[in-house]
C-alpha cells in the first residue's frame, strides 16, 4: 500500500467514523451491504477508466456506452428473446468493439483521447435514443426467464453479499495482477509516463494503448449488464449520464494522474468507496439531497488538495535526504 492509498484509506475511515458517530445506522448491516452493492456497480467501470487514464488517455464515453449497450441488452433479452448468456456476450463484445474503435482512433489517427471519446459520448447516446425512439425500455413485461441473470447481476450470494461487489472483487484482483505484475502492466505505466521512451525501448506502444481501451470497453460492457439489472430499465436519454465523471473522480481520488502513468487498482477501488460513502452519508445524515453534488465536489477537492500538499512535503523531505546523502559521498 503506497502512502497515497494509505492517506485515502485514512480519509475514508475519518469520514466513515464521523458519519457513524452522527448516525450509527451508517454501519448497520443493511446500509453497509447496500453500499457494497453500489461500490460494485461503480467500481467495475471506474477500474476500466483508471486503466485508460494510466496510459495518459481518458474515456468520456462510458456513460453513453451504458445507454447504448443497455438498450441493446434489454432489446436482445425482451424483444428478441435471445438466451441470456448470448445476449451478455453480445454486449461484452460490443463494449470491446467500441474500445477497439477508440484505441484505433487514438493510436492510428493520433486523435486526442478527449476528443475521440467526447464524440463517442455524443454519438452513442444519440444512437441509443434514436434506436429506442426515446422511450424507456425495461424488463417490465418480460417473463421470469431472466431469473438466473437477474440473480447473477443483482442478487446476493452466501445469503447477504451483493453479487456486483463480488464481481468487483474478482475484476479488481485480476486487474491488479494484470497492472502490477504482468509485462503488459509494466508497459502500460511506461507508456503513460513517457511514451517516447517506451517506443525507444522497442515497445509496441500502439498495441499497449489499444489494449487499455479494450479493457476499458469490456469492463464498460460488464458494467452495463450490472447497471441495467440494478434499475431494471434503461431510459436512453438519462441512463448513465455523468457516470464517466464518477469514474474519473474515483480514479483521480485513487491516485491516478490525468497526465498518465500513475495510479493503482487499490487506489481506484478506494476512490470508488469514498464516492459511494459520500453519496450515502448525504442520505443517512439527512443532508438535503440537493447538496449531494456539492458535498461530493467539496470532499474530492479537499482530498486532492491535501494529497498535493502532502506530496510536496514528501518530495521536499526526500530531496533534502538525497542532497544529504549526495553531500556525504
Amino acid at each position: 500500500m503506497s502512502k497515497k492509498e494509505l492517506g485515502l484509506a485514512l480519509l475514508l475511515i475519518v469520514i466513515g467514523g464521523i458519519t457513524a458517530a452522527l448516525n450509527p445506522l451508517f454501519l448497520s448491516g443493511v446500509n453497509v451491504l447496500n453500499m457494497a452493492n453500489l461500490i460494485g456497480l461503480f467500481g467495475v467501470f471506474s477500474i476500466g477508466q483508471g486503466i485508460i487514464i494510466i496510459t495518459g488517455g481518458i474515456d468520456l464515453s462510458v456513460g453513453s456506452m451504458f445507454a447504448l449497450l443497455g438498450v441493446i441488452l434489454v432489446d436482445l433479452l425482451v424483444n428478441y428473446e435471445l438466451p441470456w448468456p448470448l445476449a451478455v456476450l453480445v454486449v461484452l463484445a460490443a463494449g470491446l468493439v467500441l474500445g477497439l474503435l477508440h484505441g484505433l482512433l487514438v493510436t492510428r489517427l493520433k486523435l486526442q483521447p478527449f476528443v475521440v471519446t467526447l464524440c463517442g459520448l455524443l454519438i452513442y447516446r444519440g444512437i441509443a435514443r434514436y434506436y429506442t425512439q426515446d422511450s424507456t425500455t425495461g424488463f417490465g413485461y418480460a417473463g421470469d426467464s431472466l431469473d438466473t441473470l437477474t440473480w447473477l447481476a443483482s442478487g446476493r450470494s452466501f445469503g447477504i453479499i451483493p453479487n456486483p461487489f463480488l464481481i468487483l472483487l474478482v475484476v479488481a484482483l485480476v486487474m491488479a495482477v494484470v497492472l502490477h505484475r504482468t509485462v503488459f502492466g509494466r508497459y502500460l505505466y511506461a507508456v503513460g509516463r513517457n511514451e517516447e521512451e517506451a517506443r525507444h525501448s522497442g515497445i509496441n506502444t500502439d498495441a499497449v494503448i489499444i489494449g487499455a481501451y479494450l479493457l476499458g470497453g469490456s469492463l464498460a460492457g460488464l458494467s452495463t449488464v450490472l447497471l441495467v439489472f440494478y434499475t431494471s430499465s434503461v431510459s436512453p436519454s438519462s441512463f448513465g449520464n455523468f457516470y464517466e465523471l464518477y469514474a474519473i473522480a474515483a480514479a483521480v481520488l485513487g491516485g491516478c494522474s490525468l497526465r498518465g502513468g500513475e495510479g493503482s487498482i487499490l487506489g481506484i477501488v478506494l476512490g470508488t468507496v469514498l464516492l459511494q460513502i459520500l453519496q450515502n452519508l448525504v442520505n443517512i445524515l439527512g443532508i438535503p439531497s440537493s447538496l449531494n453534488f456539492a458535498v461530493m465536489g467539496g470532499v474530492i477537492l479537499l482530498g486532492v488538495v491535501a494529497d498535493q500538499q502532502l506530496g510536496r512535503r514528501r518530495e521536499r523531505i526526500q530531496l533534502h535526504r538525497s542532497q544529504a546523502t549526495a553531500a556525504a559521498e
Binding site: F184, N194, E196, Q323, T325, A326
Partner: protein
C-alpha cells in the same frame, strides 16, 4: 575597473545540506568570468541566488553600490541581471520580437493597450543585427534552431538593458561553428562593457573567452585562475581536485570485420542525399558535424524510429530490416538517445524498471513479472556501472545526469548489444562521470560491440574515437583515421569545404 557585482560570504543551507558555503565572487565591467565546477558543486544554487529565486542563509550581495542580504526576482531584473539558460525559456508560439520584448511590449491605443508591432520590430531589429542573427524579428520562434533561439535569449537580455548576463551552459546544444559564433557575440558584449558569467563544462570555450575563472567544488570556492593561468589541466585540477587521466584508451584488439554496414541510406531529413557508413565491431566511430547535418536523424532512422526512404543495412554480413524500434532491439542494435529525459528514461520509475523495460518479457513467466530476477539483473548493472544510488528502487529522476545516463546504458547492457548508437552521450554530464562513460564505451567496444558516437564536443570526438566520420548535409563528407585527427580537419569537413588537407578520404565514406 568598475565592479558590477560583488558577493561576499554567501552561504545557503538546506536541512542537512550545505549547498553553498562562504562563496565570494566579483564581476567587473567588461569582463567574462568563467564559472566551472562539477554538477552538484553549487553553480545552479549560486545562480538562483543571483536570479532572486533563492534567498541565501548568510552573506551579502552588493550590486551597483547597494548592499543587500538577498534579492527578489524583480530586484534582480531591475539590477540588470539577465539569464541565458541551458533550458531555453522562450515561447514557441510567439515570434522573435514577441519573445525579445516579452513583458515590456510597446503598446499604443492608450487604455486599449494594443500591441504596437511596428515599434516592436524597430526595437528588435538593431539588436538582432548586433548579434549577427540571420533571422528577422517576425520569424516564428518555432522555426528557429536551438542556436538561433539562444541569440533570441541574448537579444532579450540586451533589450532589458542588462549589465550582467549569465550564460548557463549556452553551448550544450550547439554545433562547433555555432559555438564559435556565440563566443564572438560574448566577446562583442564584453567589449561594450557588459559583465558576463559564463558557466560551462566545455573547458575549451573557457580558454577561448574567459578573463578569469572561478571554480566551485562542494559548495565552496575551490579557487580562481587569472587569464594567464587558465589552462586545461589547471581547471580540471580545480574541479575534481586531482589530475584527469588522458581521455583516449586504445582498443584492446584491432577492429574485426562485420559490424553494421549502411548502404545507400536516405533519411527523411535529406531526401536527396545518400549515405554509406561502416561501423566495425570493436571500434568507436565518432560522428561529428554541425547540428542539422542529419546525425540525429541518422541515429533515429537506424534505430527504427524514423522510417528510411531508401537504402539497406547489413549486420555482420547478413541483411537487416528495421521497421520499428522493436526490430532494432531484437537485432541487438541499441540507441542511447540525445535527449535521455525524453527518450531514454522513465524518470518516475525506479532504476530496476528502467533497466528491464526493453527486456521485460525475459523476466516474465506466463506473462507475470518475476520481481526477484528483475531486481537481481538491475542490481548487477547498478554495481558494475557504479550507479550512485542506494538501491535499484531509487527513482531514475532523483539521479544526477551521469547516473541517469548509466541507467540508460544499463538497460541495454543487461541485454545483448551488437551495435550501439550513442547520441551526445555526455551532454550535461560532469567531468568525473564523463570519464566513466568513456571507459564503459571502450569496454563495450573491447567486447566486440560496434559503437557509433555522435558528438558535438570537439574534445570528446578527438579524444575518444578510434575513427571519425564527419557528416555534412545528410551525407558523410569524409572519415579520418586517428593519425589524421585534428580540430581543423574535422571542422573543414563539417562545414563542407572539400579537399581538406589532412583529411584522408575513405572510399566507403564518400559516395561518388
Amino acid at each position: 575597473m568598475e565592479v558590477l557585482l560583488e558577493l561576499e560570504g554567501i552561504g545557503k543551507s538546506y536541512p542537512g545540506v550545505r549547498a553553498l558555503d562562504g562563496v565570494s565572487l566579483r564581476l567587473h565591467r567588461g569582463e567574462v568570468l568563467g564559472l566551472i565546477g562539477e554538477n552538484g558543486a553549487g553553480k545552479s544554487t549560486l545562480m538562483k541566488v543571483l536570479g532572486g529565486v533563492v534567498a541565501p542563509s548568510e552573506g551579502r550581495i552588493r550590486i551597483a553600490g547597494h548592499d543587500r542580504p538577498s534579492l527578489t526576482v524583480p530586484e534582480a531584473t531591475q539590477a540588470g541581471i539577465a539569464f541565458v539558460h541551458q533550458e531555453l525559456n522562450l515561447f514557441d508560439n510567439l515570434d522573435v520580437a514577441g519573445n525579445v520584448l516579452f513583458g515590456r511590449e510597446p503598446v499604443r491605443g492608450g487604455p486599449l493597450r494594443l500591441l504596437d508591432r511596428r515599434a516592436a520590430r524597430e526595437k528588435v531589429e538593431p539588436l538582432l543585427r548586433r548579434l549577427g542573427a540571420d533571422f528577422g524579428p517576425d520569424a516564428p520562434l518555432a522555426e528557429l534552431s536551438i542556436a538561433q533561439r539562444q541569440l533570441v535569449e541574448i537579444a532579450r537580455a540586451l533589450a532589458a538593458e542588462a549589465r550582467i548576463i549569465i550564460l548557463d551552459e549556452p553551448t550544450s546544444s550547439l554545433t562547433l561553428s555555432e559555438t564559435a559564433r556565440l563566443l564572438a557575440v560574448v566577446k562583442e558584449l564584453r567589449a561594450s562593457g557588459t559583465g558576463l558569467i559564463y558557466i560551462t563544462h566545455r573547458l575549451g570555450e573557457i580558454m577561448d573567452c574567459a578573463d578569469r575563472v572561478a571554480c566551485l567544488r562542494d559548495g565552496r570556492m575551490a579557487g580562481e585562475l587569472r587569464r594567464d593561468e587558465i589552462d586545461h589541466a589547471a581547471m580540471i585540477r580545480l574541479m575534481i581536485g586531482r589530475d584527469l587521466r588522458a581521455l583516449y584508451t586504445a582498443p584492446a584488439r584491432a577492429p574485426a570485420q562485420g559490424g553494421l554496414e549502411i548502404l545507400g541510406l536516405v533519411t527523411s531529413a535529406f531526401p536527396a542525399r545518400q549515405l554509406d557508413l561502416h561501423i566495425h565491431p570493436g571500434e568507436i566511430l565518432g560522428l561529428a558535424g554541425l547540428v542539422g547535418a542529419g546525425r540525429t536523424t541518422l541515429a533515429r532512422t537506424l534505430f527504427g524510429i524514423d522510417p528510411p526512404l531508401a537504402g539497406s543495412l547489413r549486420l555482420d554480413g547478413k541483411p537487416l530490416r528495421i521497421r520499428s524500434a522493436r526490430d532494432a532491439v531484437a537485432a541487438g542494435l541499441y540507441l542511447i538517445p540525445e535527449d535521455r529525459k525524453q527518450a531514454g528514461l522513465v524518470l518516475e520509475m525506479p532504476i530496476v524498471e528502467n533497466v528491464t523495460l526493453a527486456s521485460a518479457p525475459l523476466y516474465a513467466r506466463f506473462g507475470l513479472m518475476r520481481r526477484g530476477a528483475e531486481w537481481q539483473a538491475s542490481e548487477e548493472q547498478r554495481l558494475s556501472l557504479r550507479i550512485k544510488a542506494p538501491s535499484s528502487g531509487t527513482r531514475a529522476g532523483a539521479l544526477s545526469g551521469g547516473n541517469q545516463q548509466k541507467v540508460v546504458l544499463g538497460k541495454w547492457l543487461s541485454m545483448a548489444p551488437r551495435v550501439m548508437l550513442f547520441d551526445e552521450p555526455t551532454r550535461g554530464i560532469d567531468v568525473g562521470a564523463k570519464g566513466e562513460i568513456y571507459r564503459l564505451m571502450r569496454a563495450l567496444a573491447d567486447r566486440g560491440v560496434a559503437i557509433l558516437m555522435i558528438s558535438s564536443d570537439m574534445e570528446e570526438v578527438l579524444g575518444v574515437s578510434d575513427r571519425i566520420a564527419v557528416m555534412h548535409e545528410g551525407r558523410i563528407s569524409g572519415t579520418l583515421e586517428r593519425d589524421a585527427f585534428s580540430e581543423q580537419a574535422v571542422l573543414r569537413l563539417a562545414i563542407g569545404s572539400e579537399g581538406a588537407g589532412t583529411a584522408r578520404k575513405q572510399a566507403e565514406g564518400v559516395p561518388a
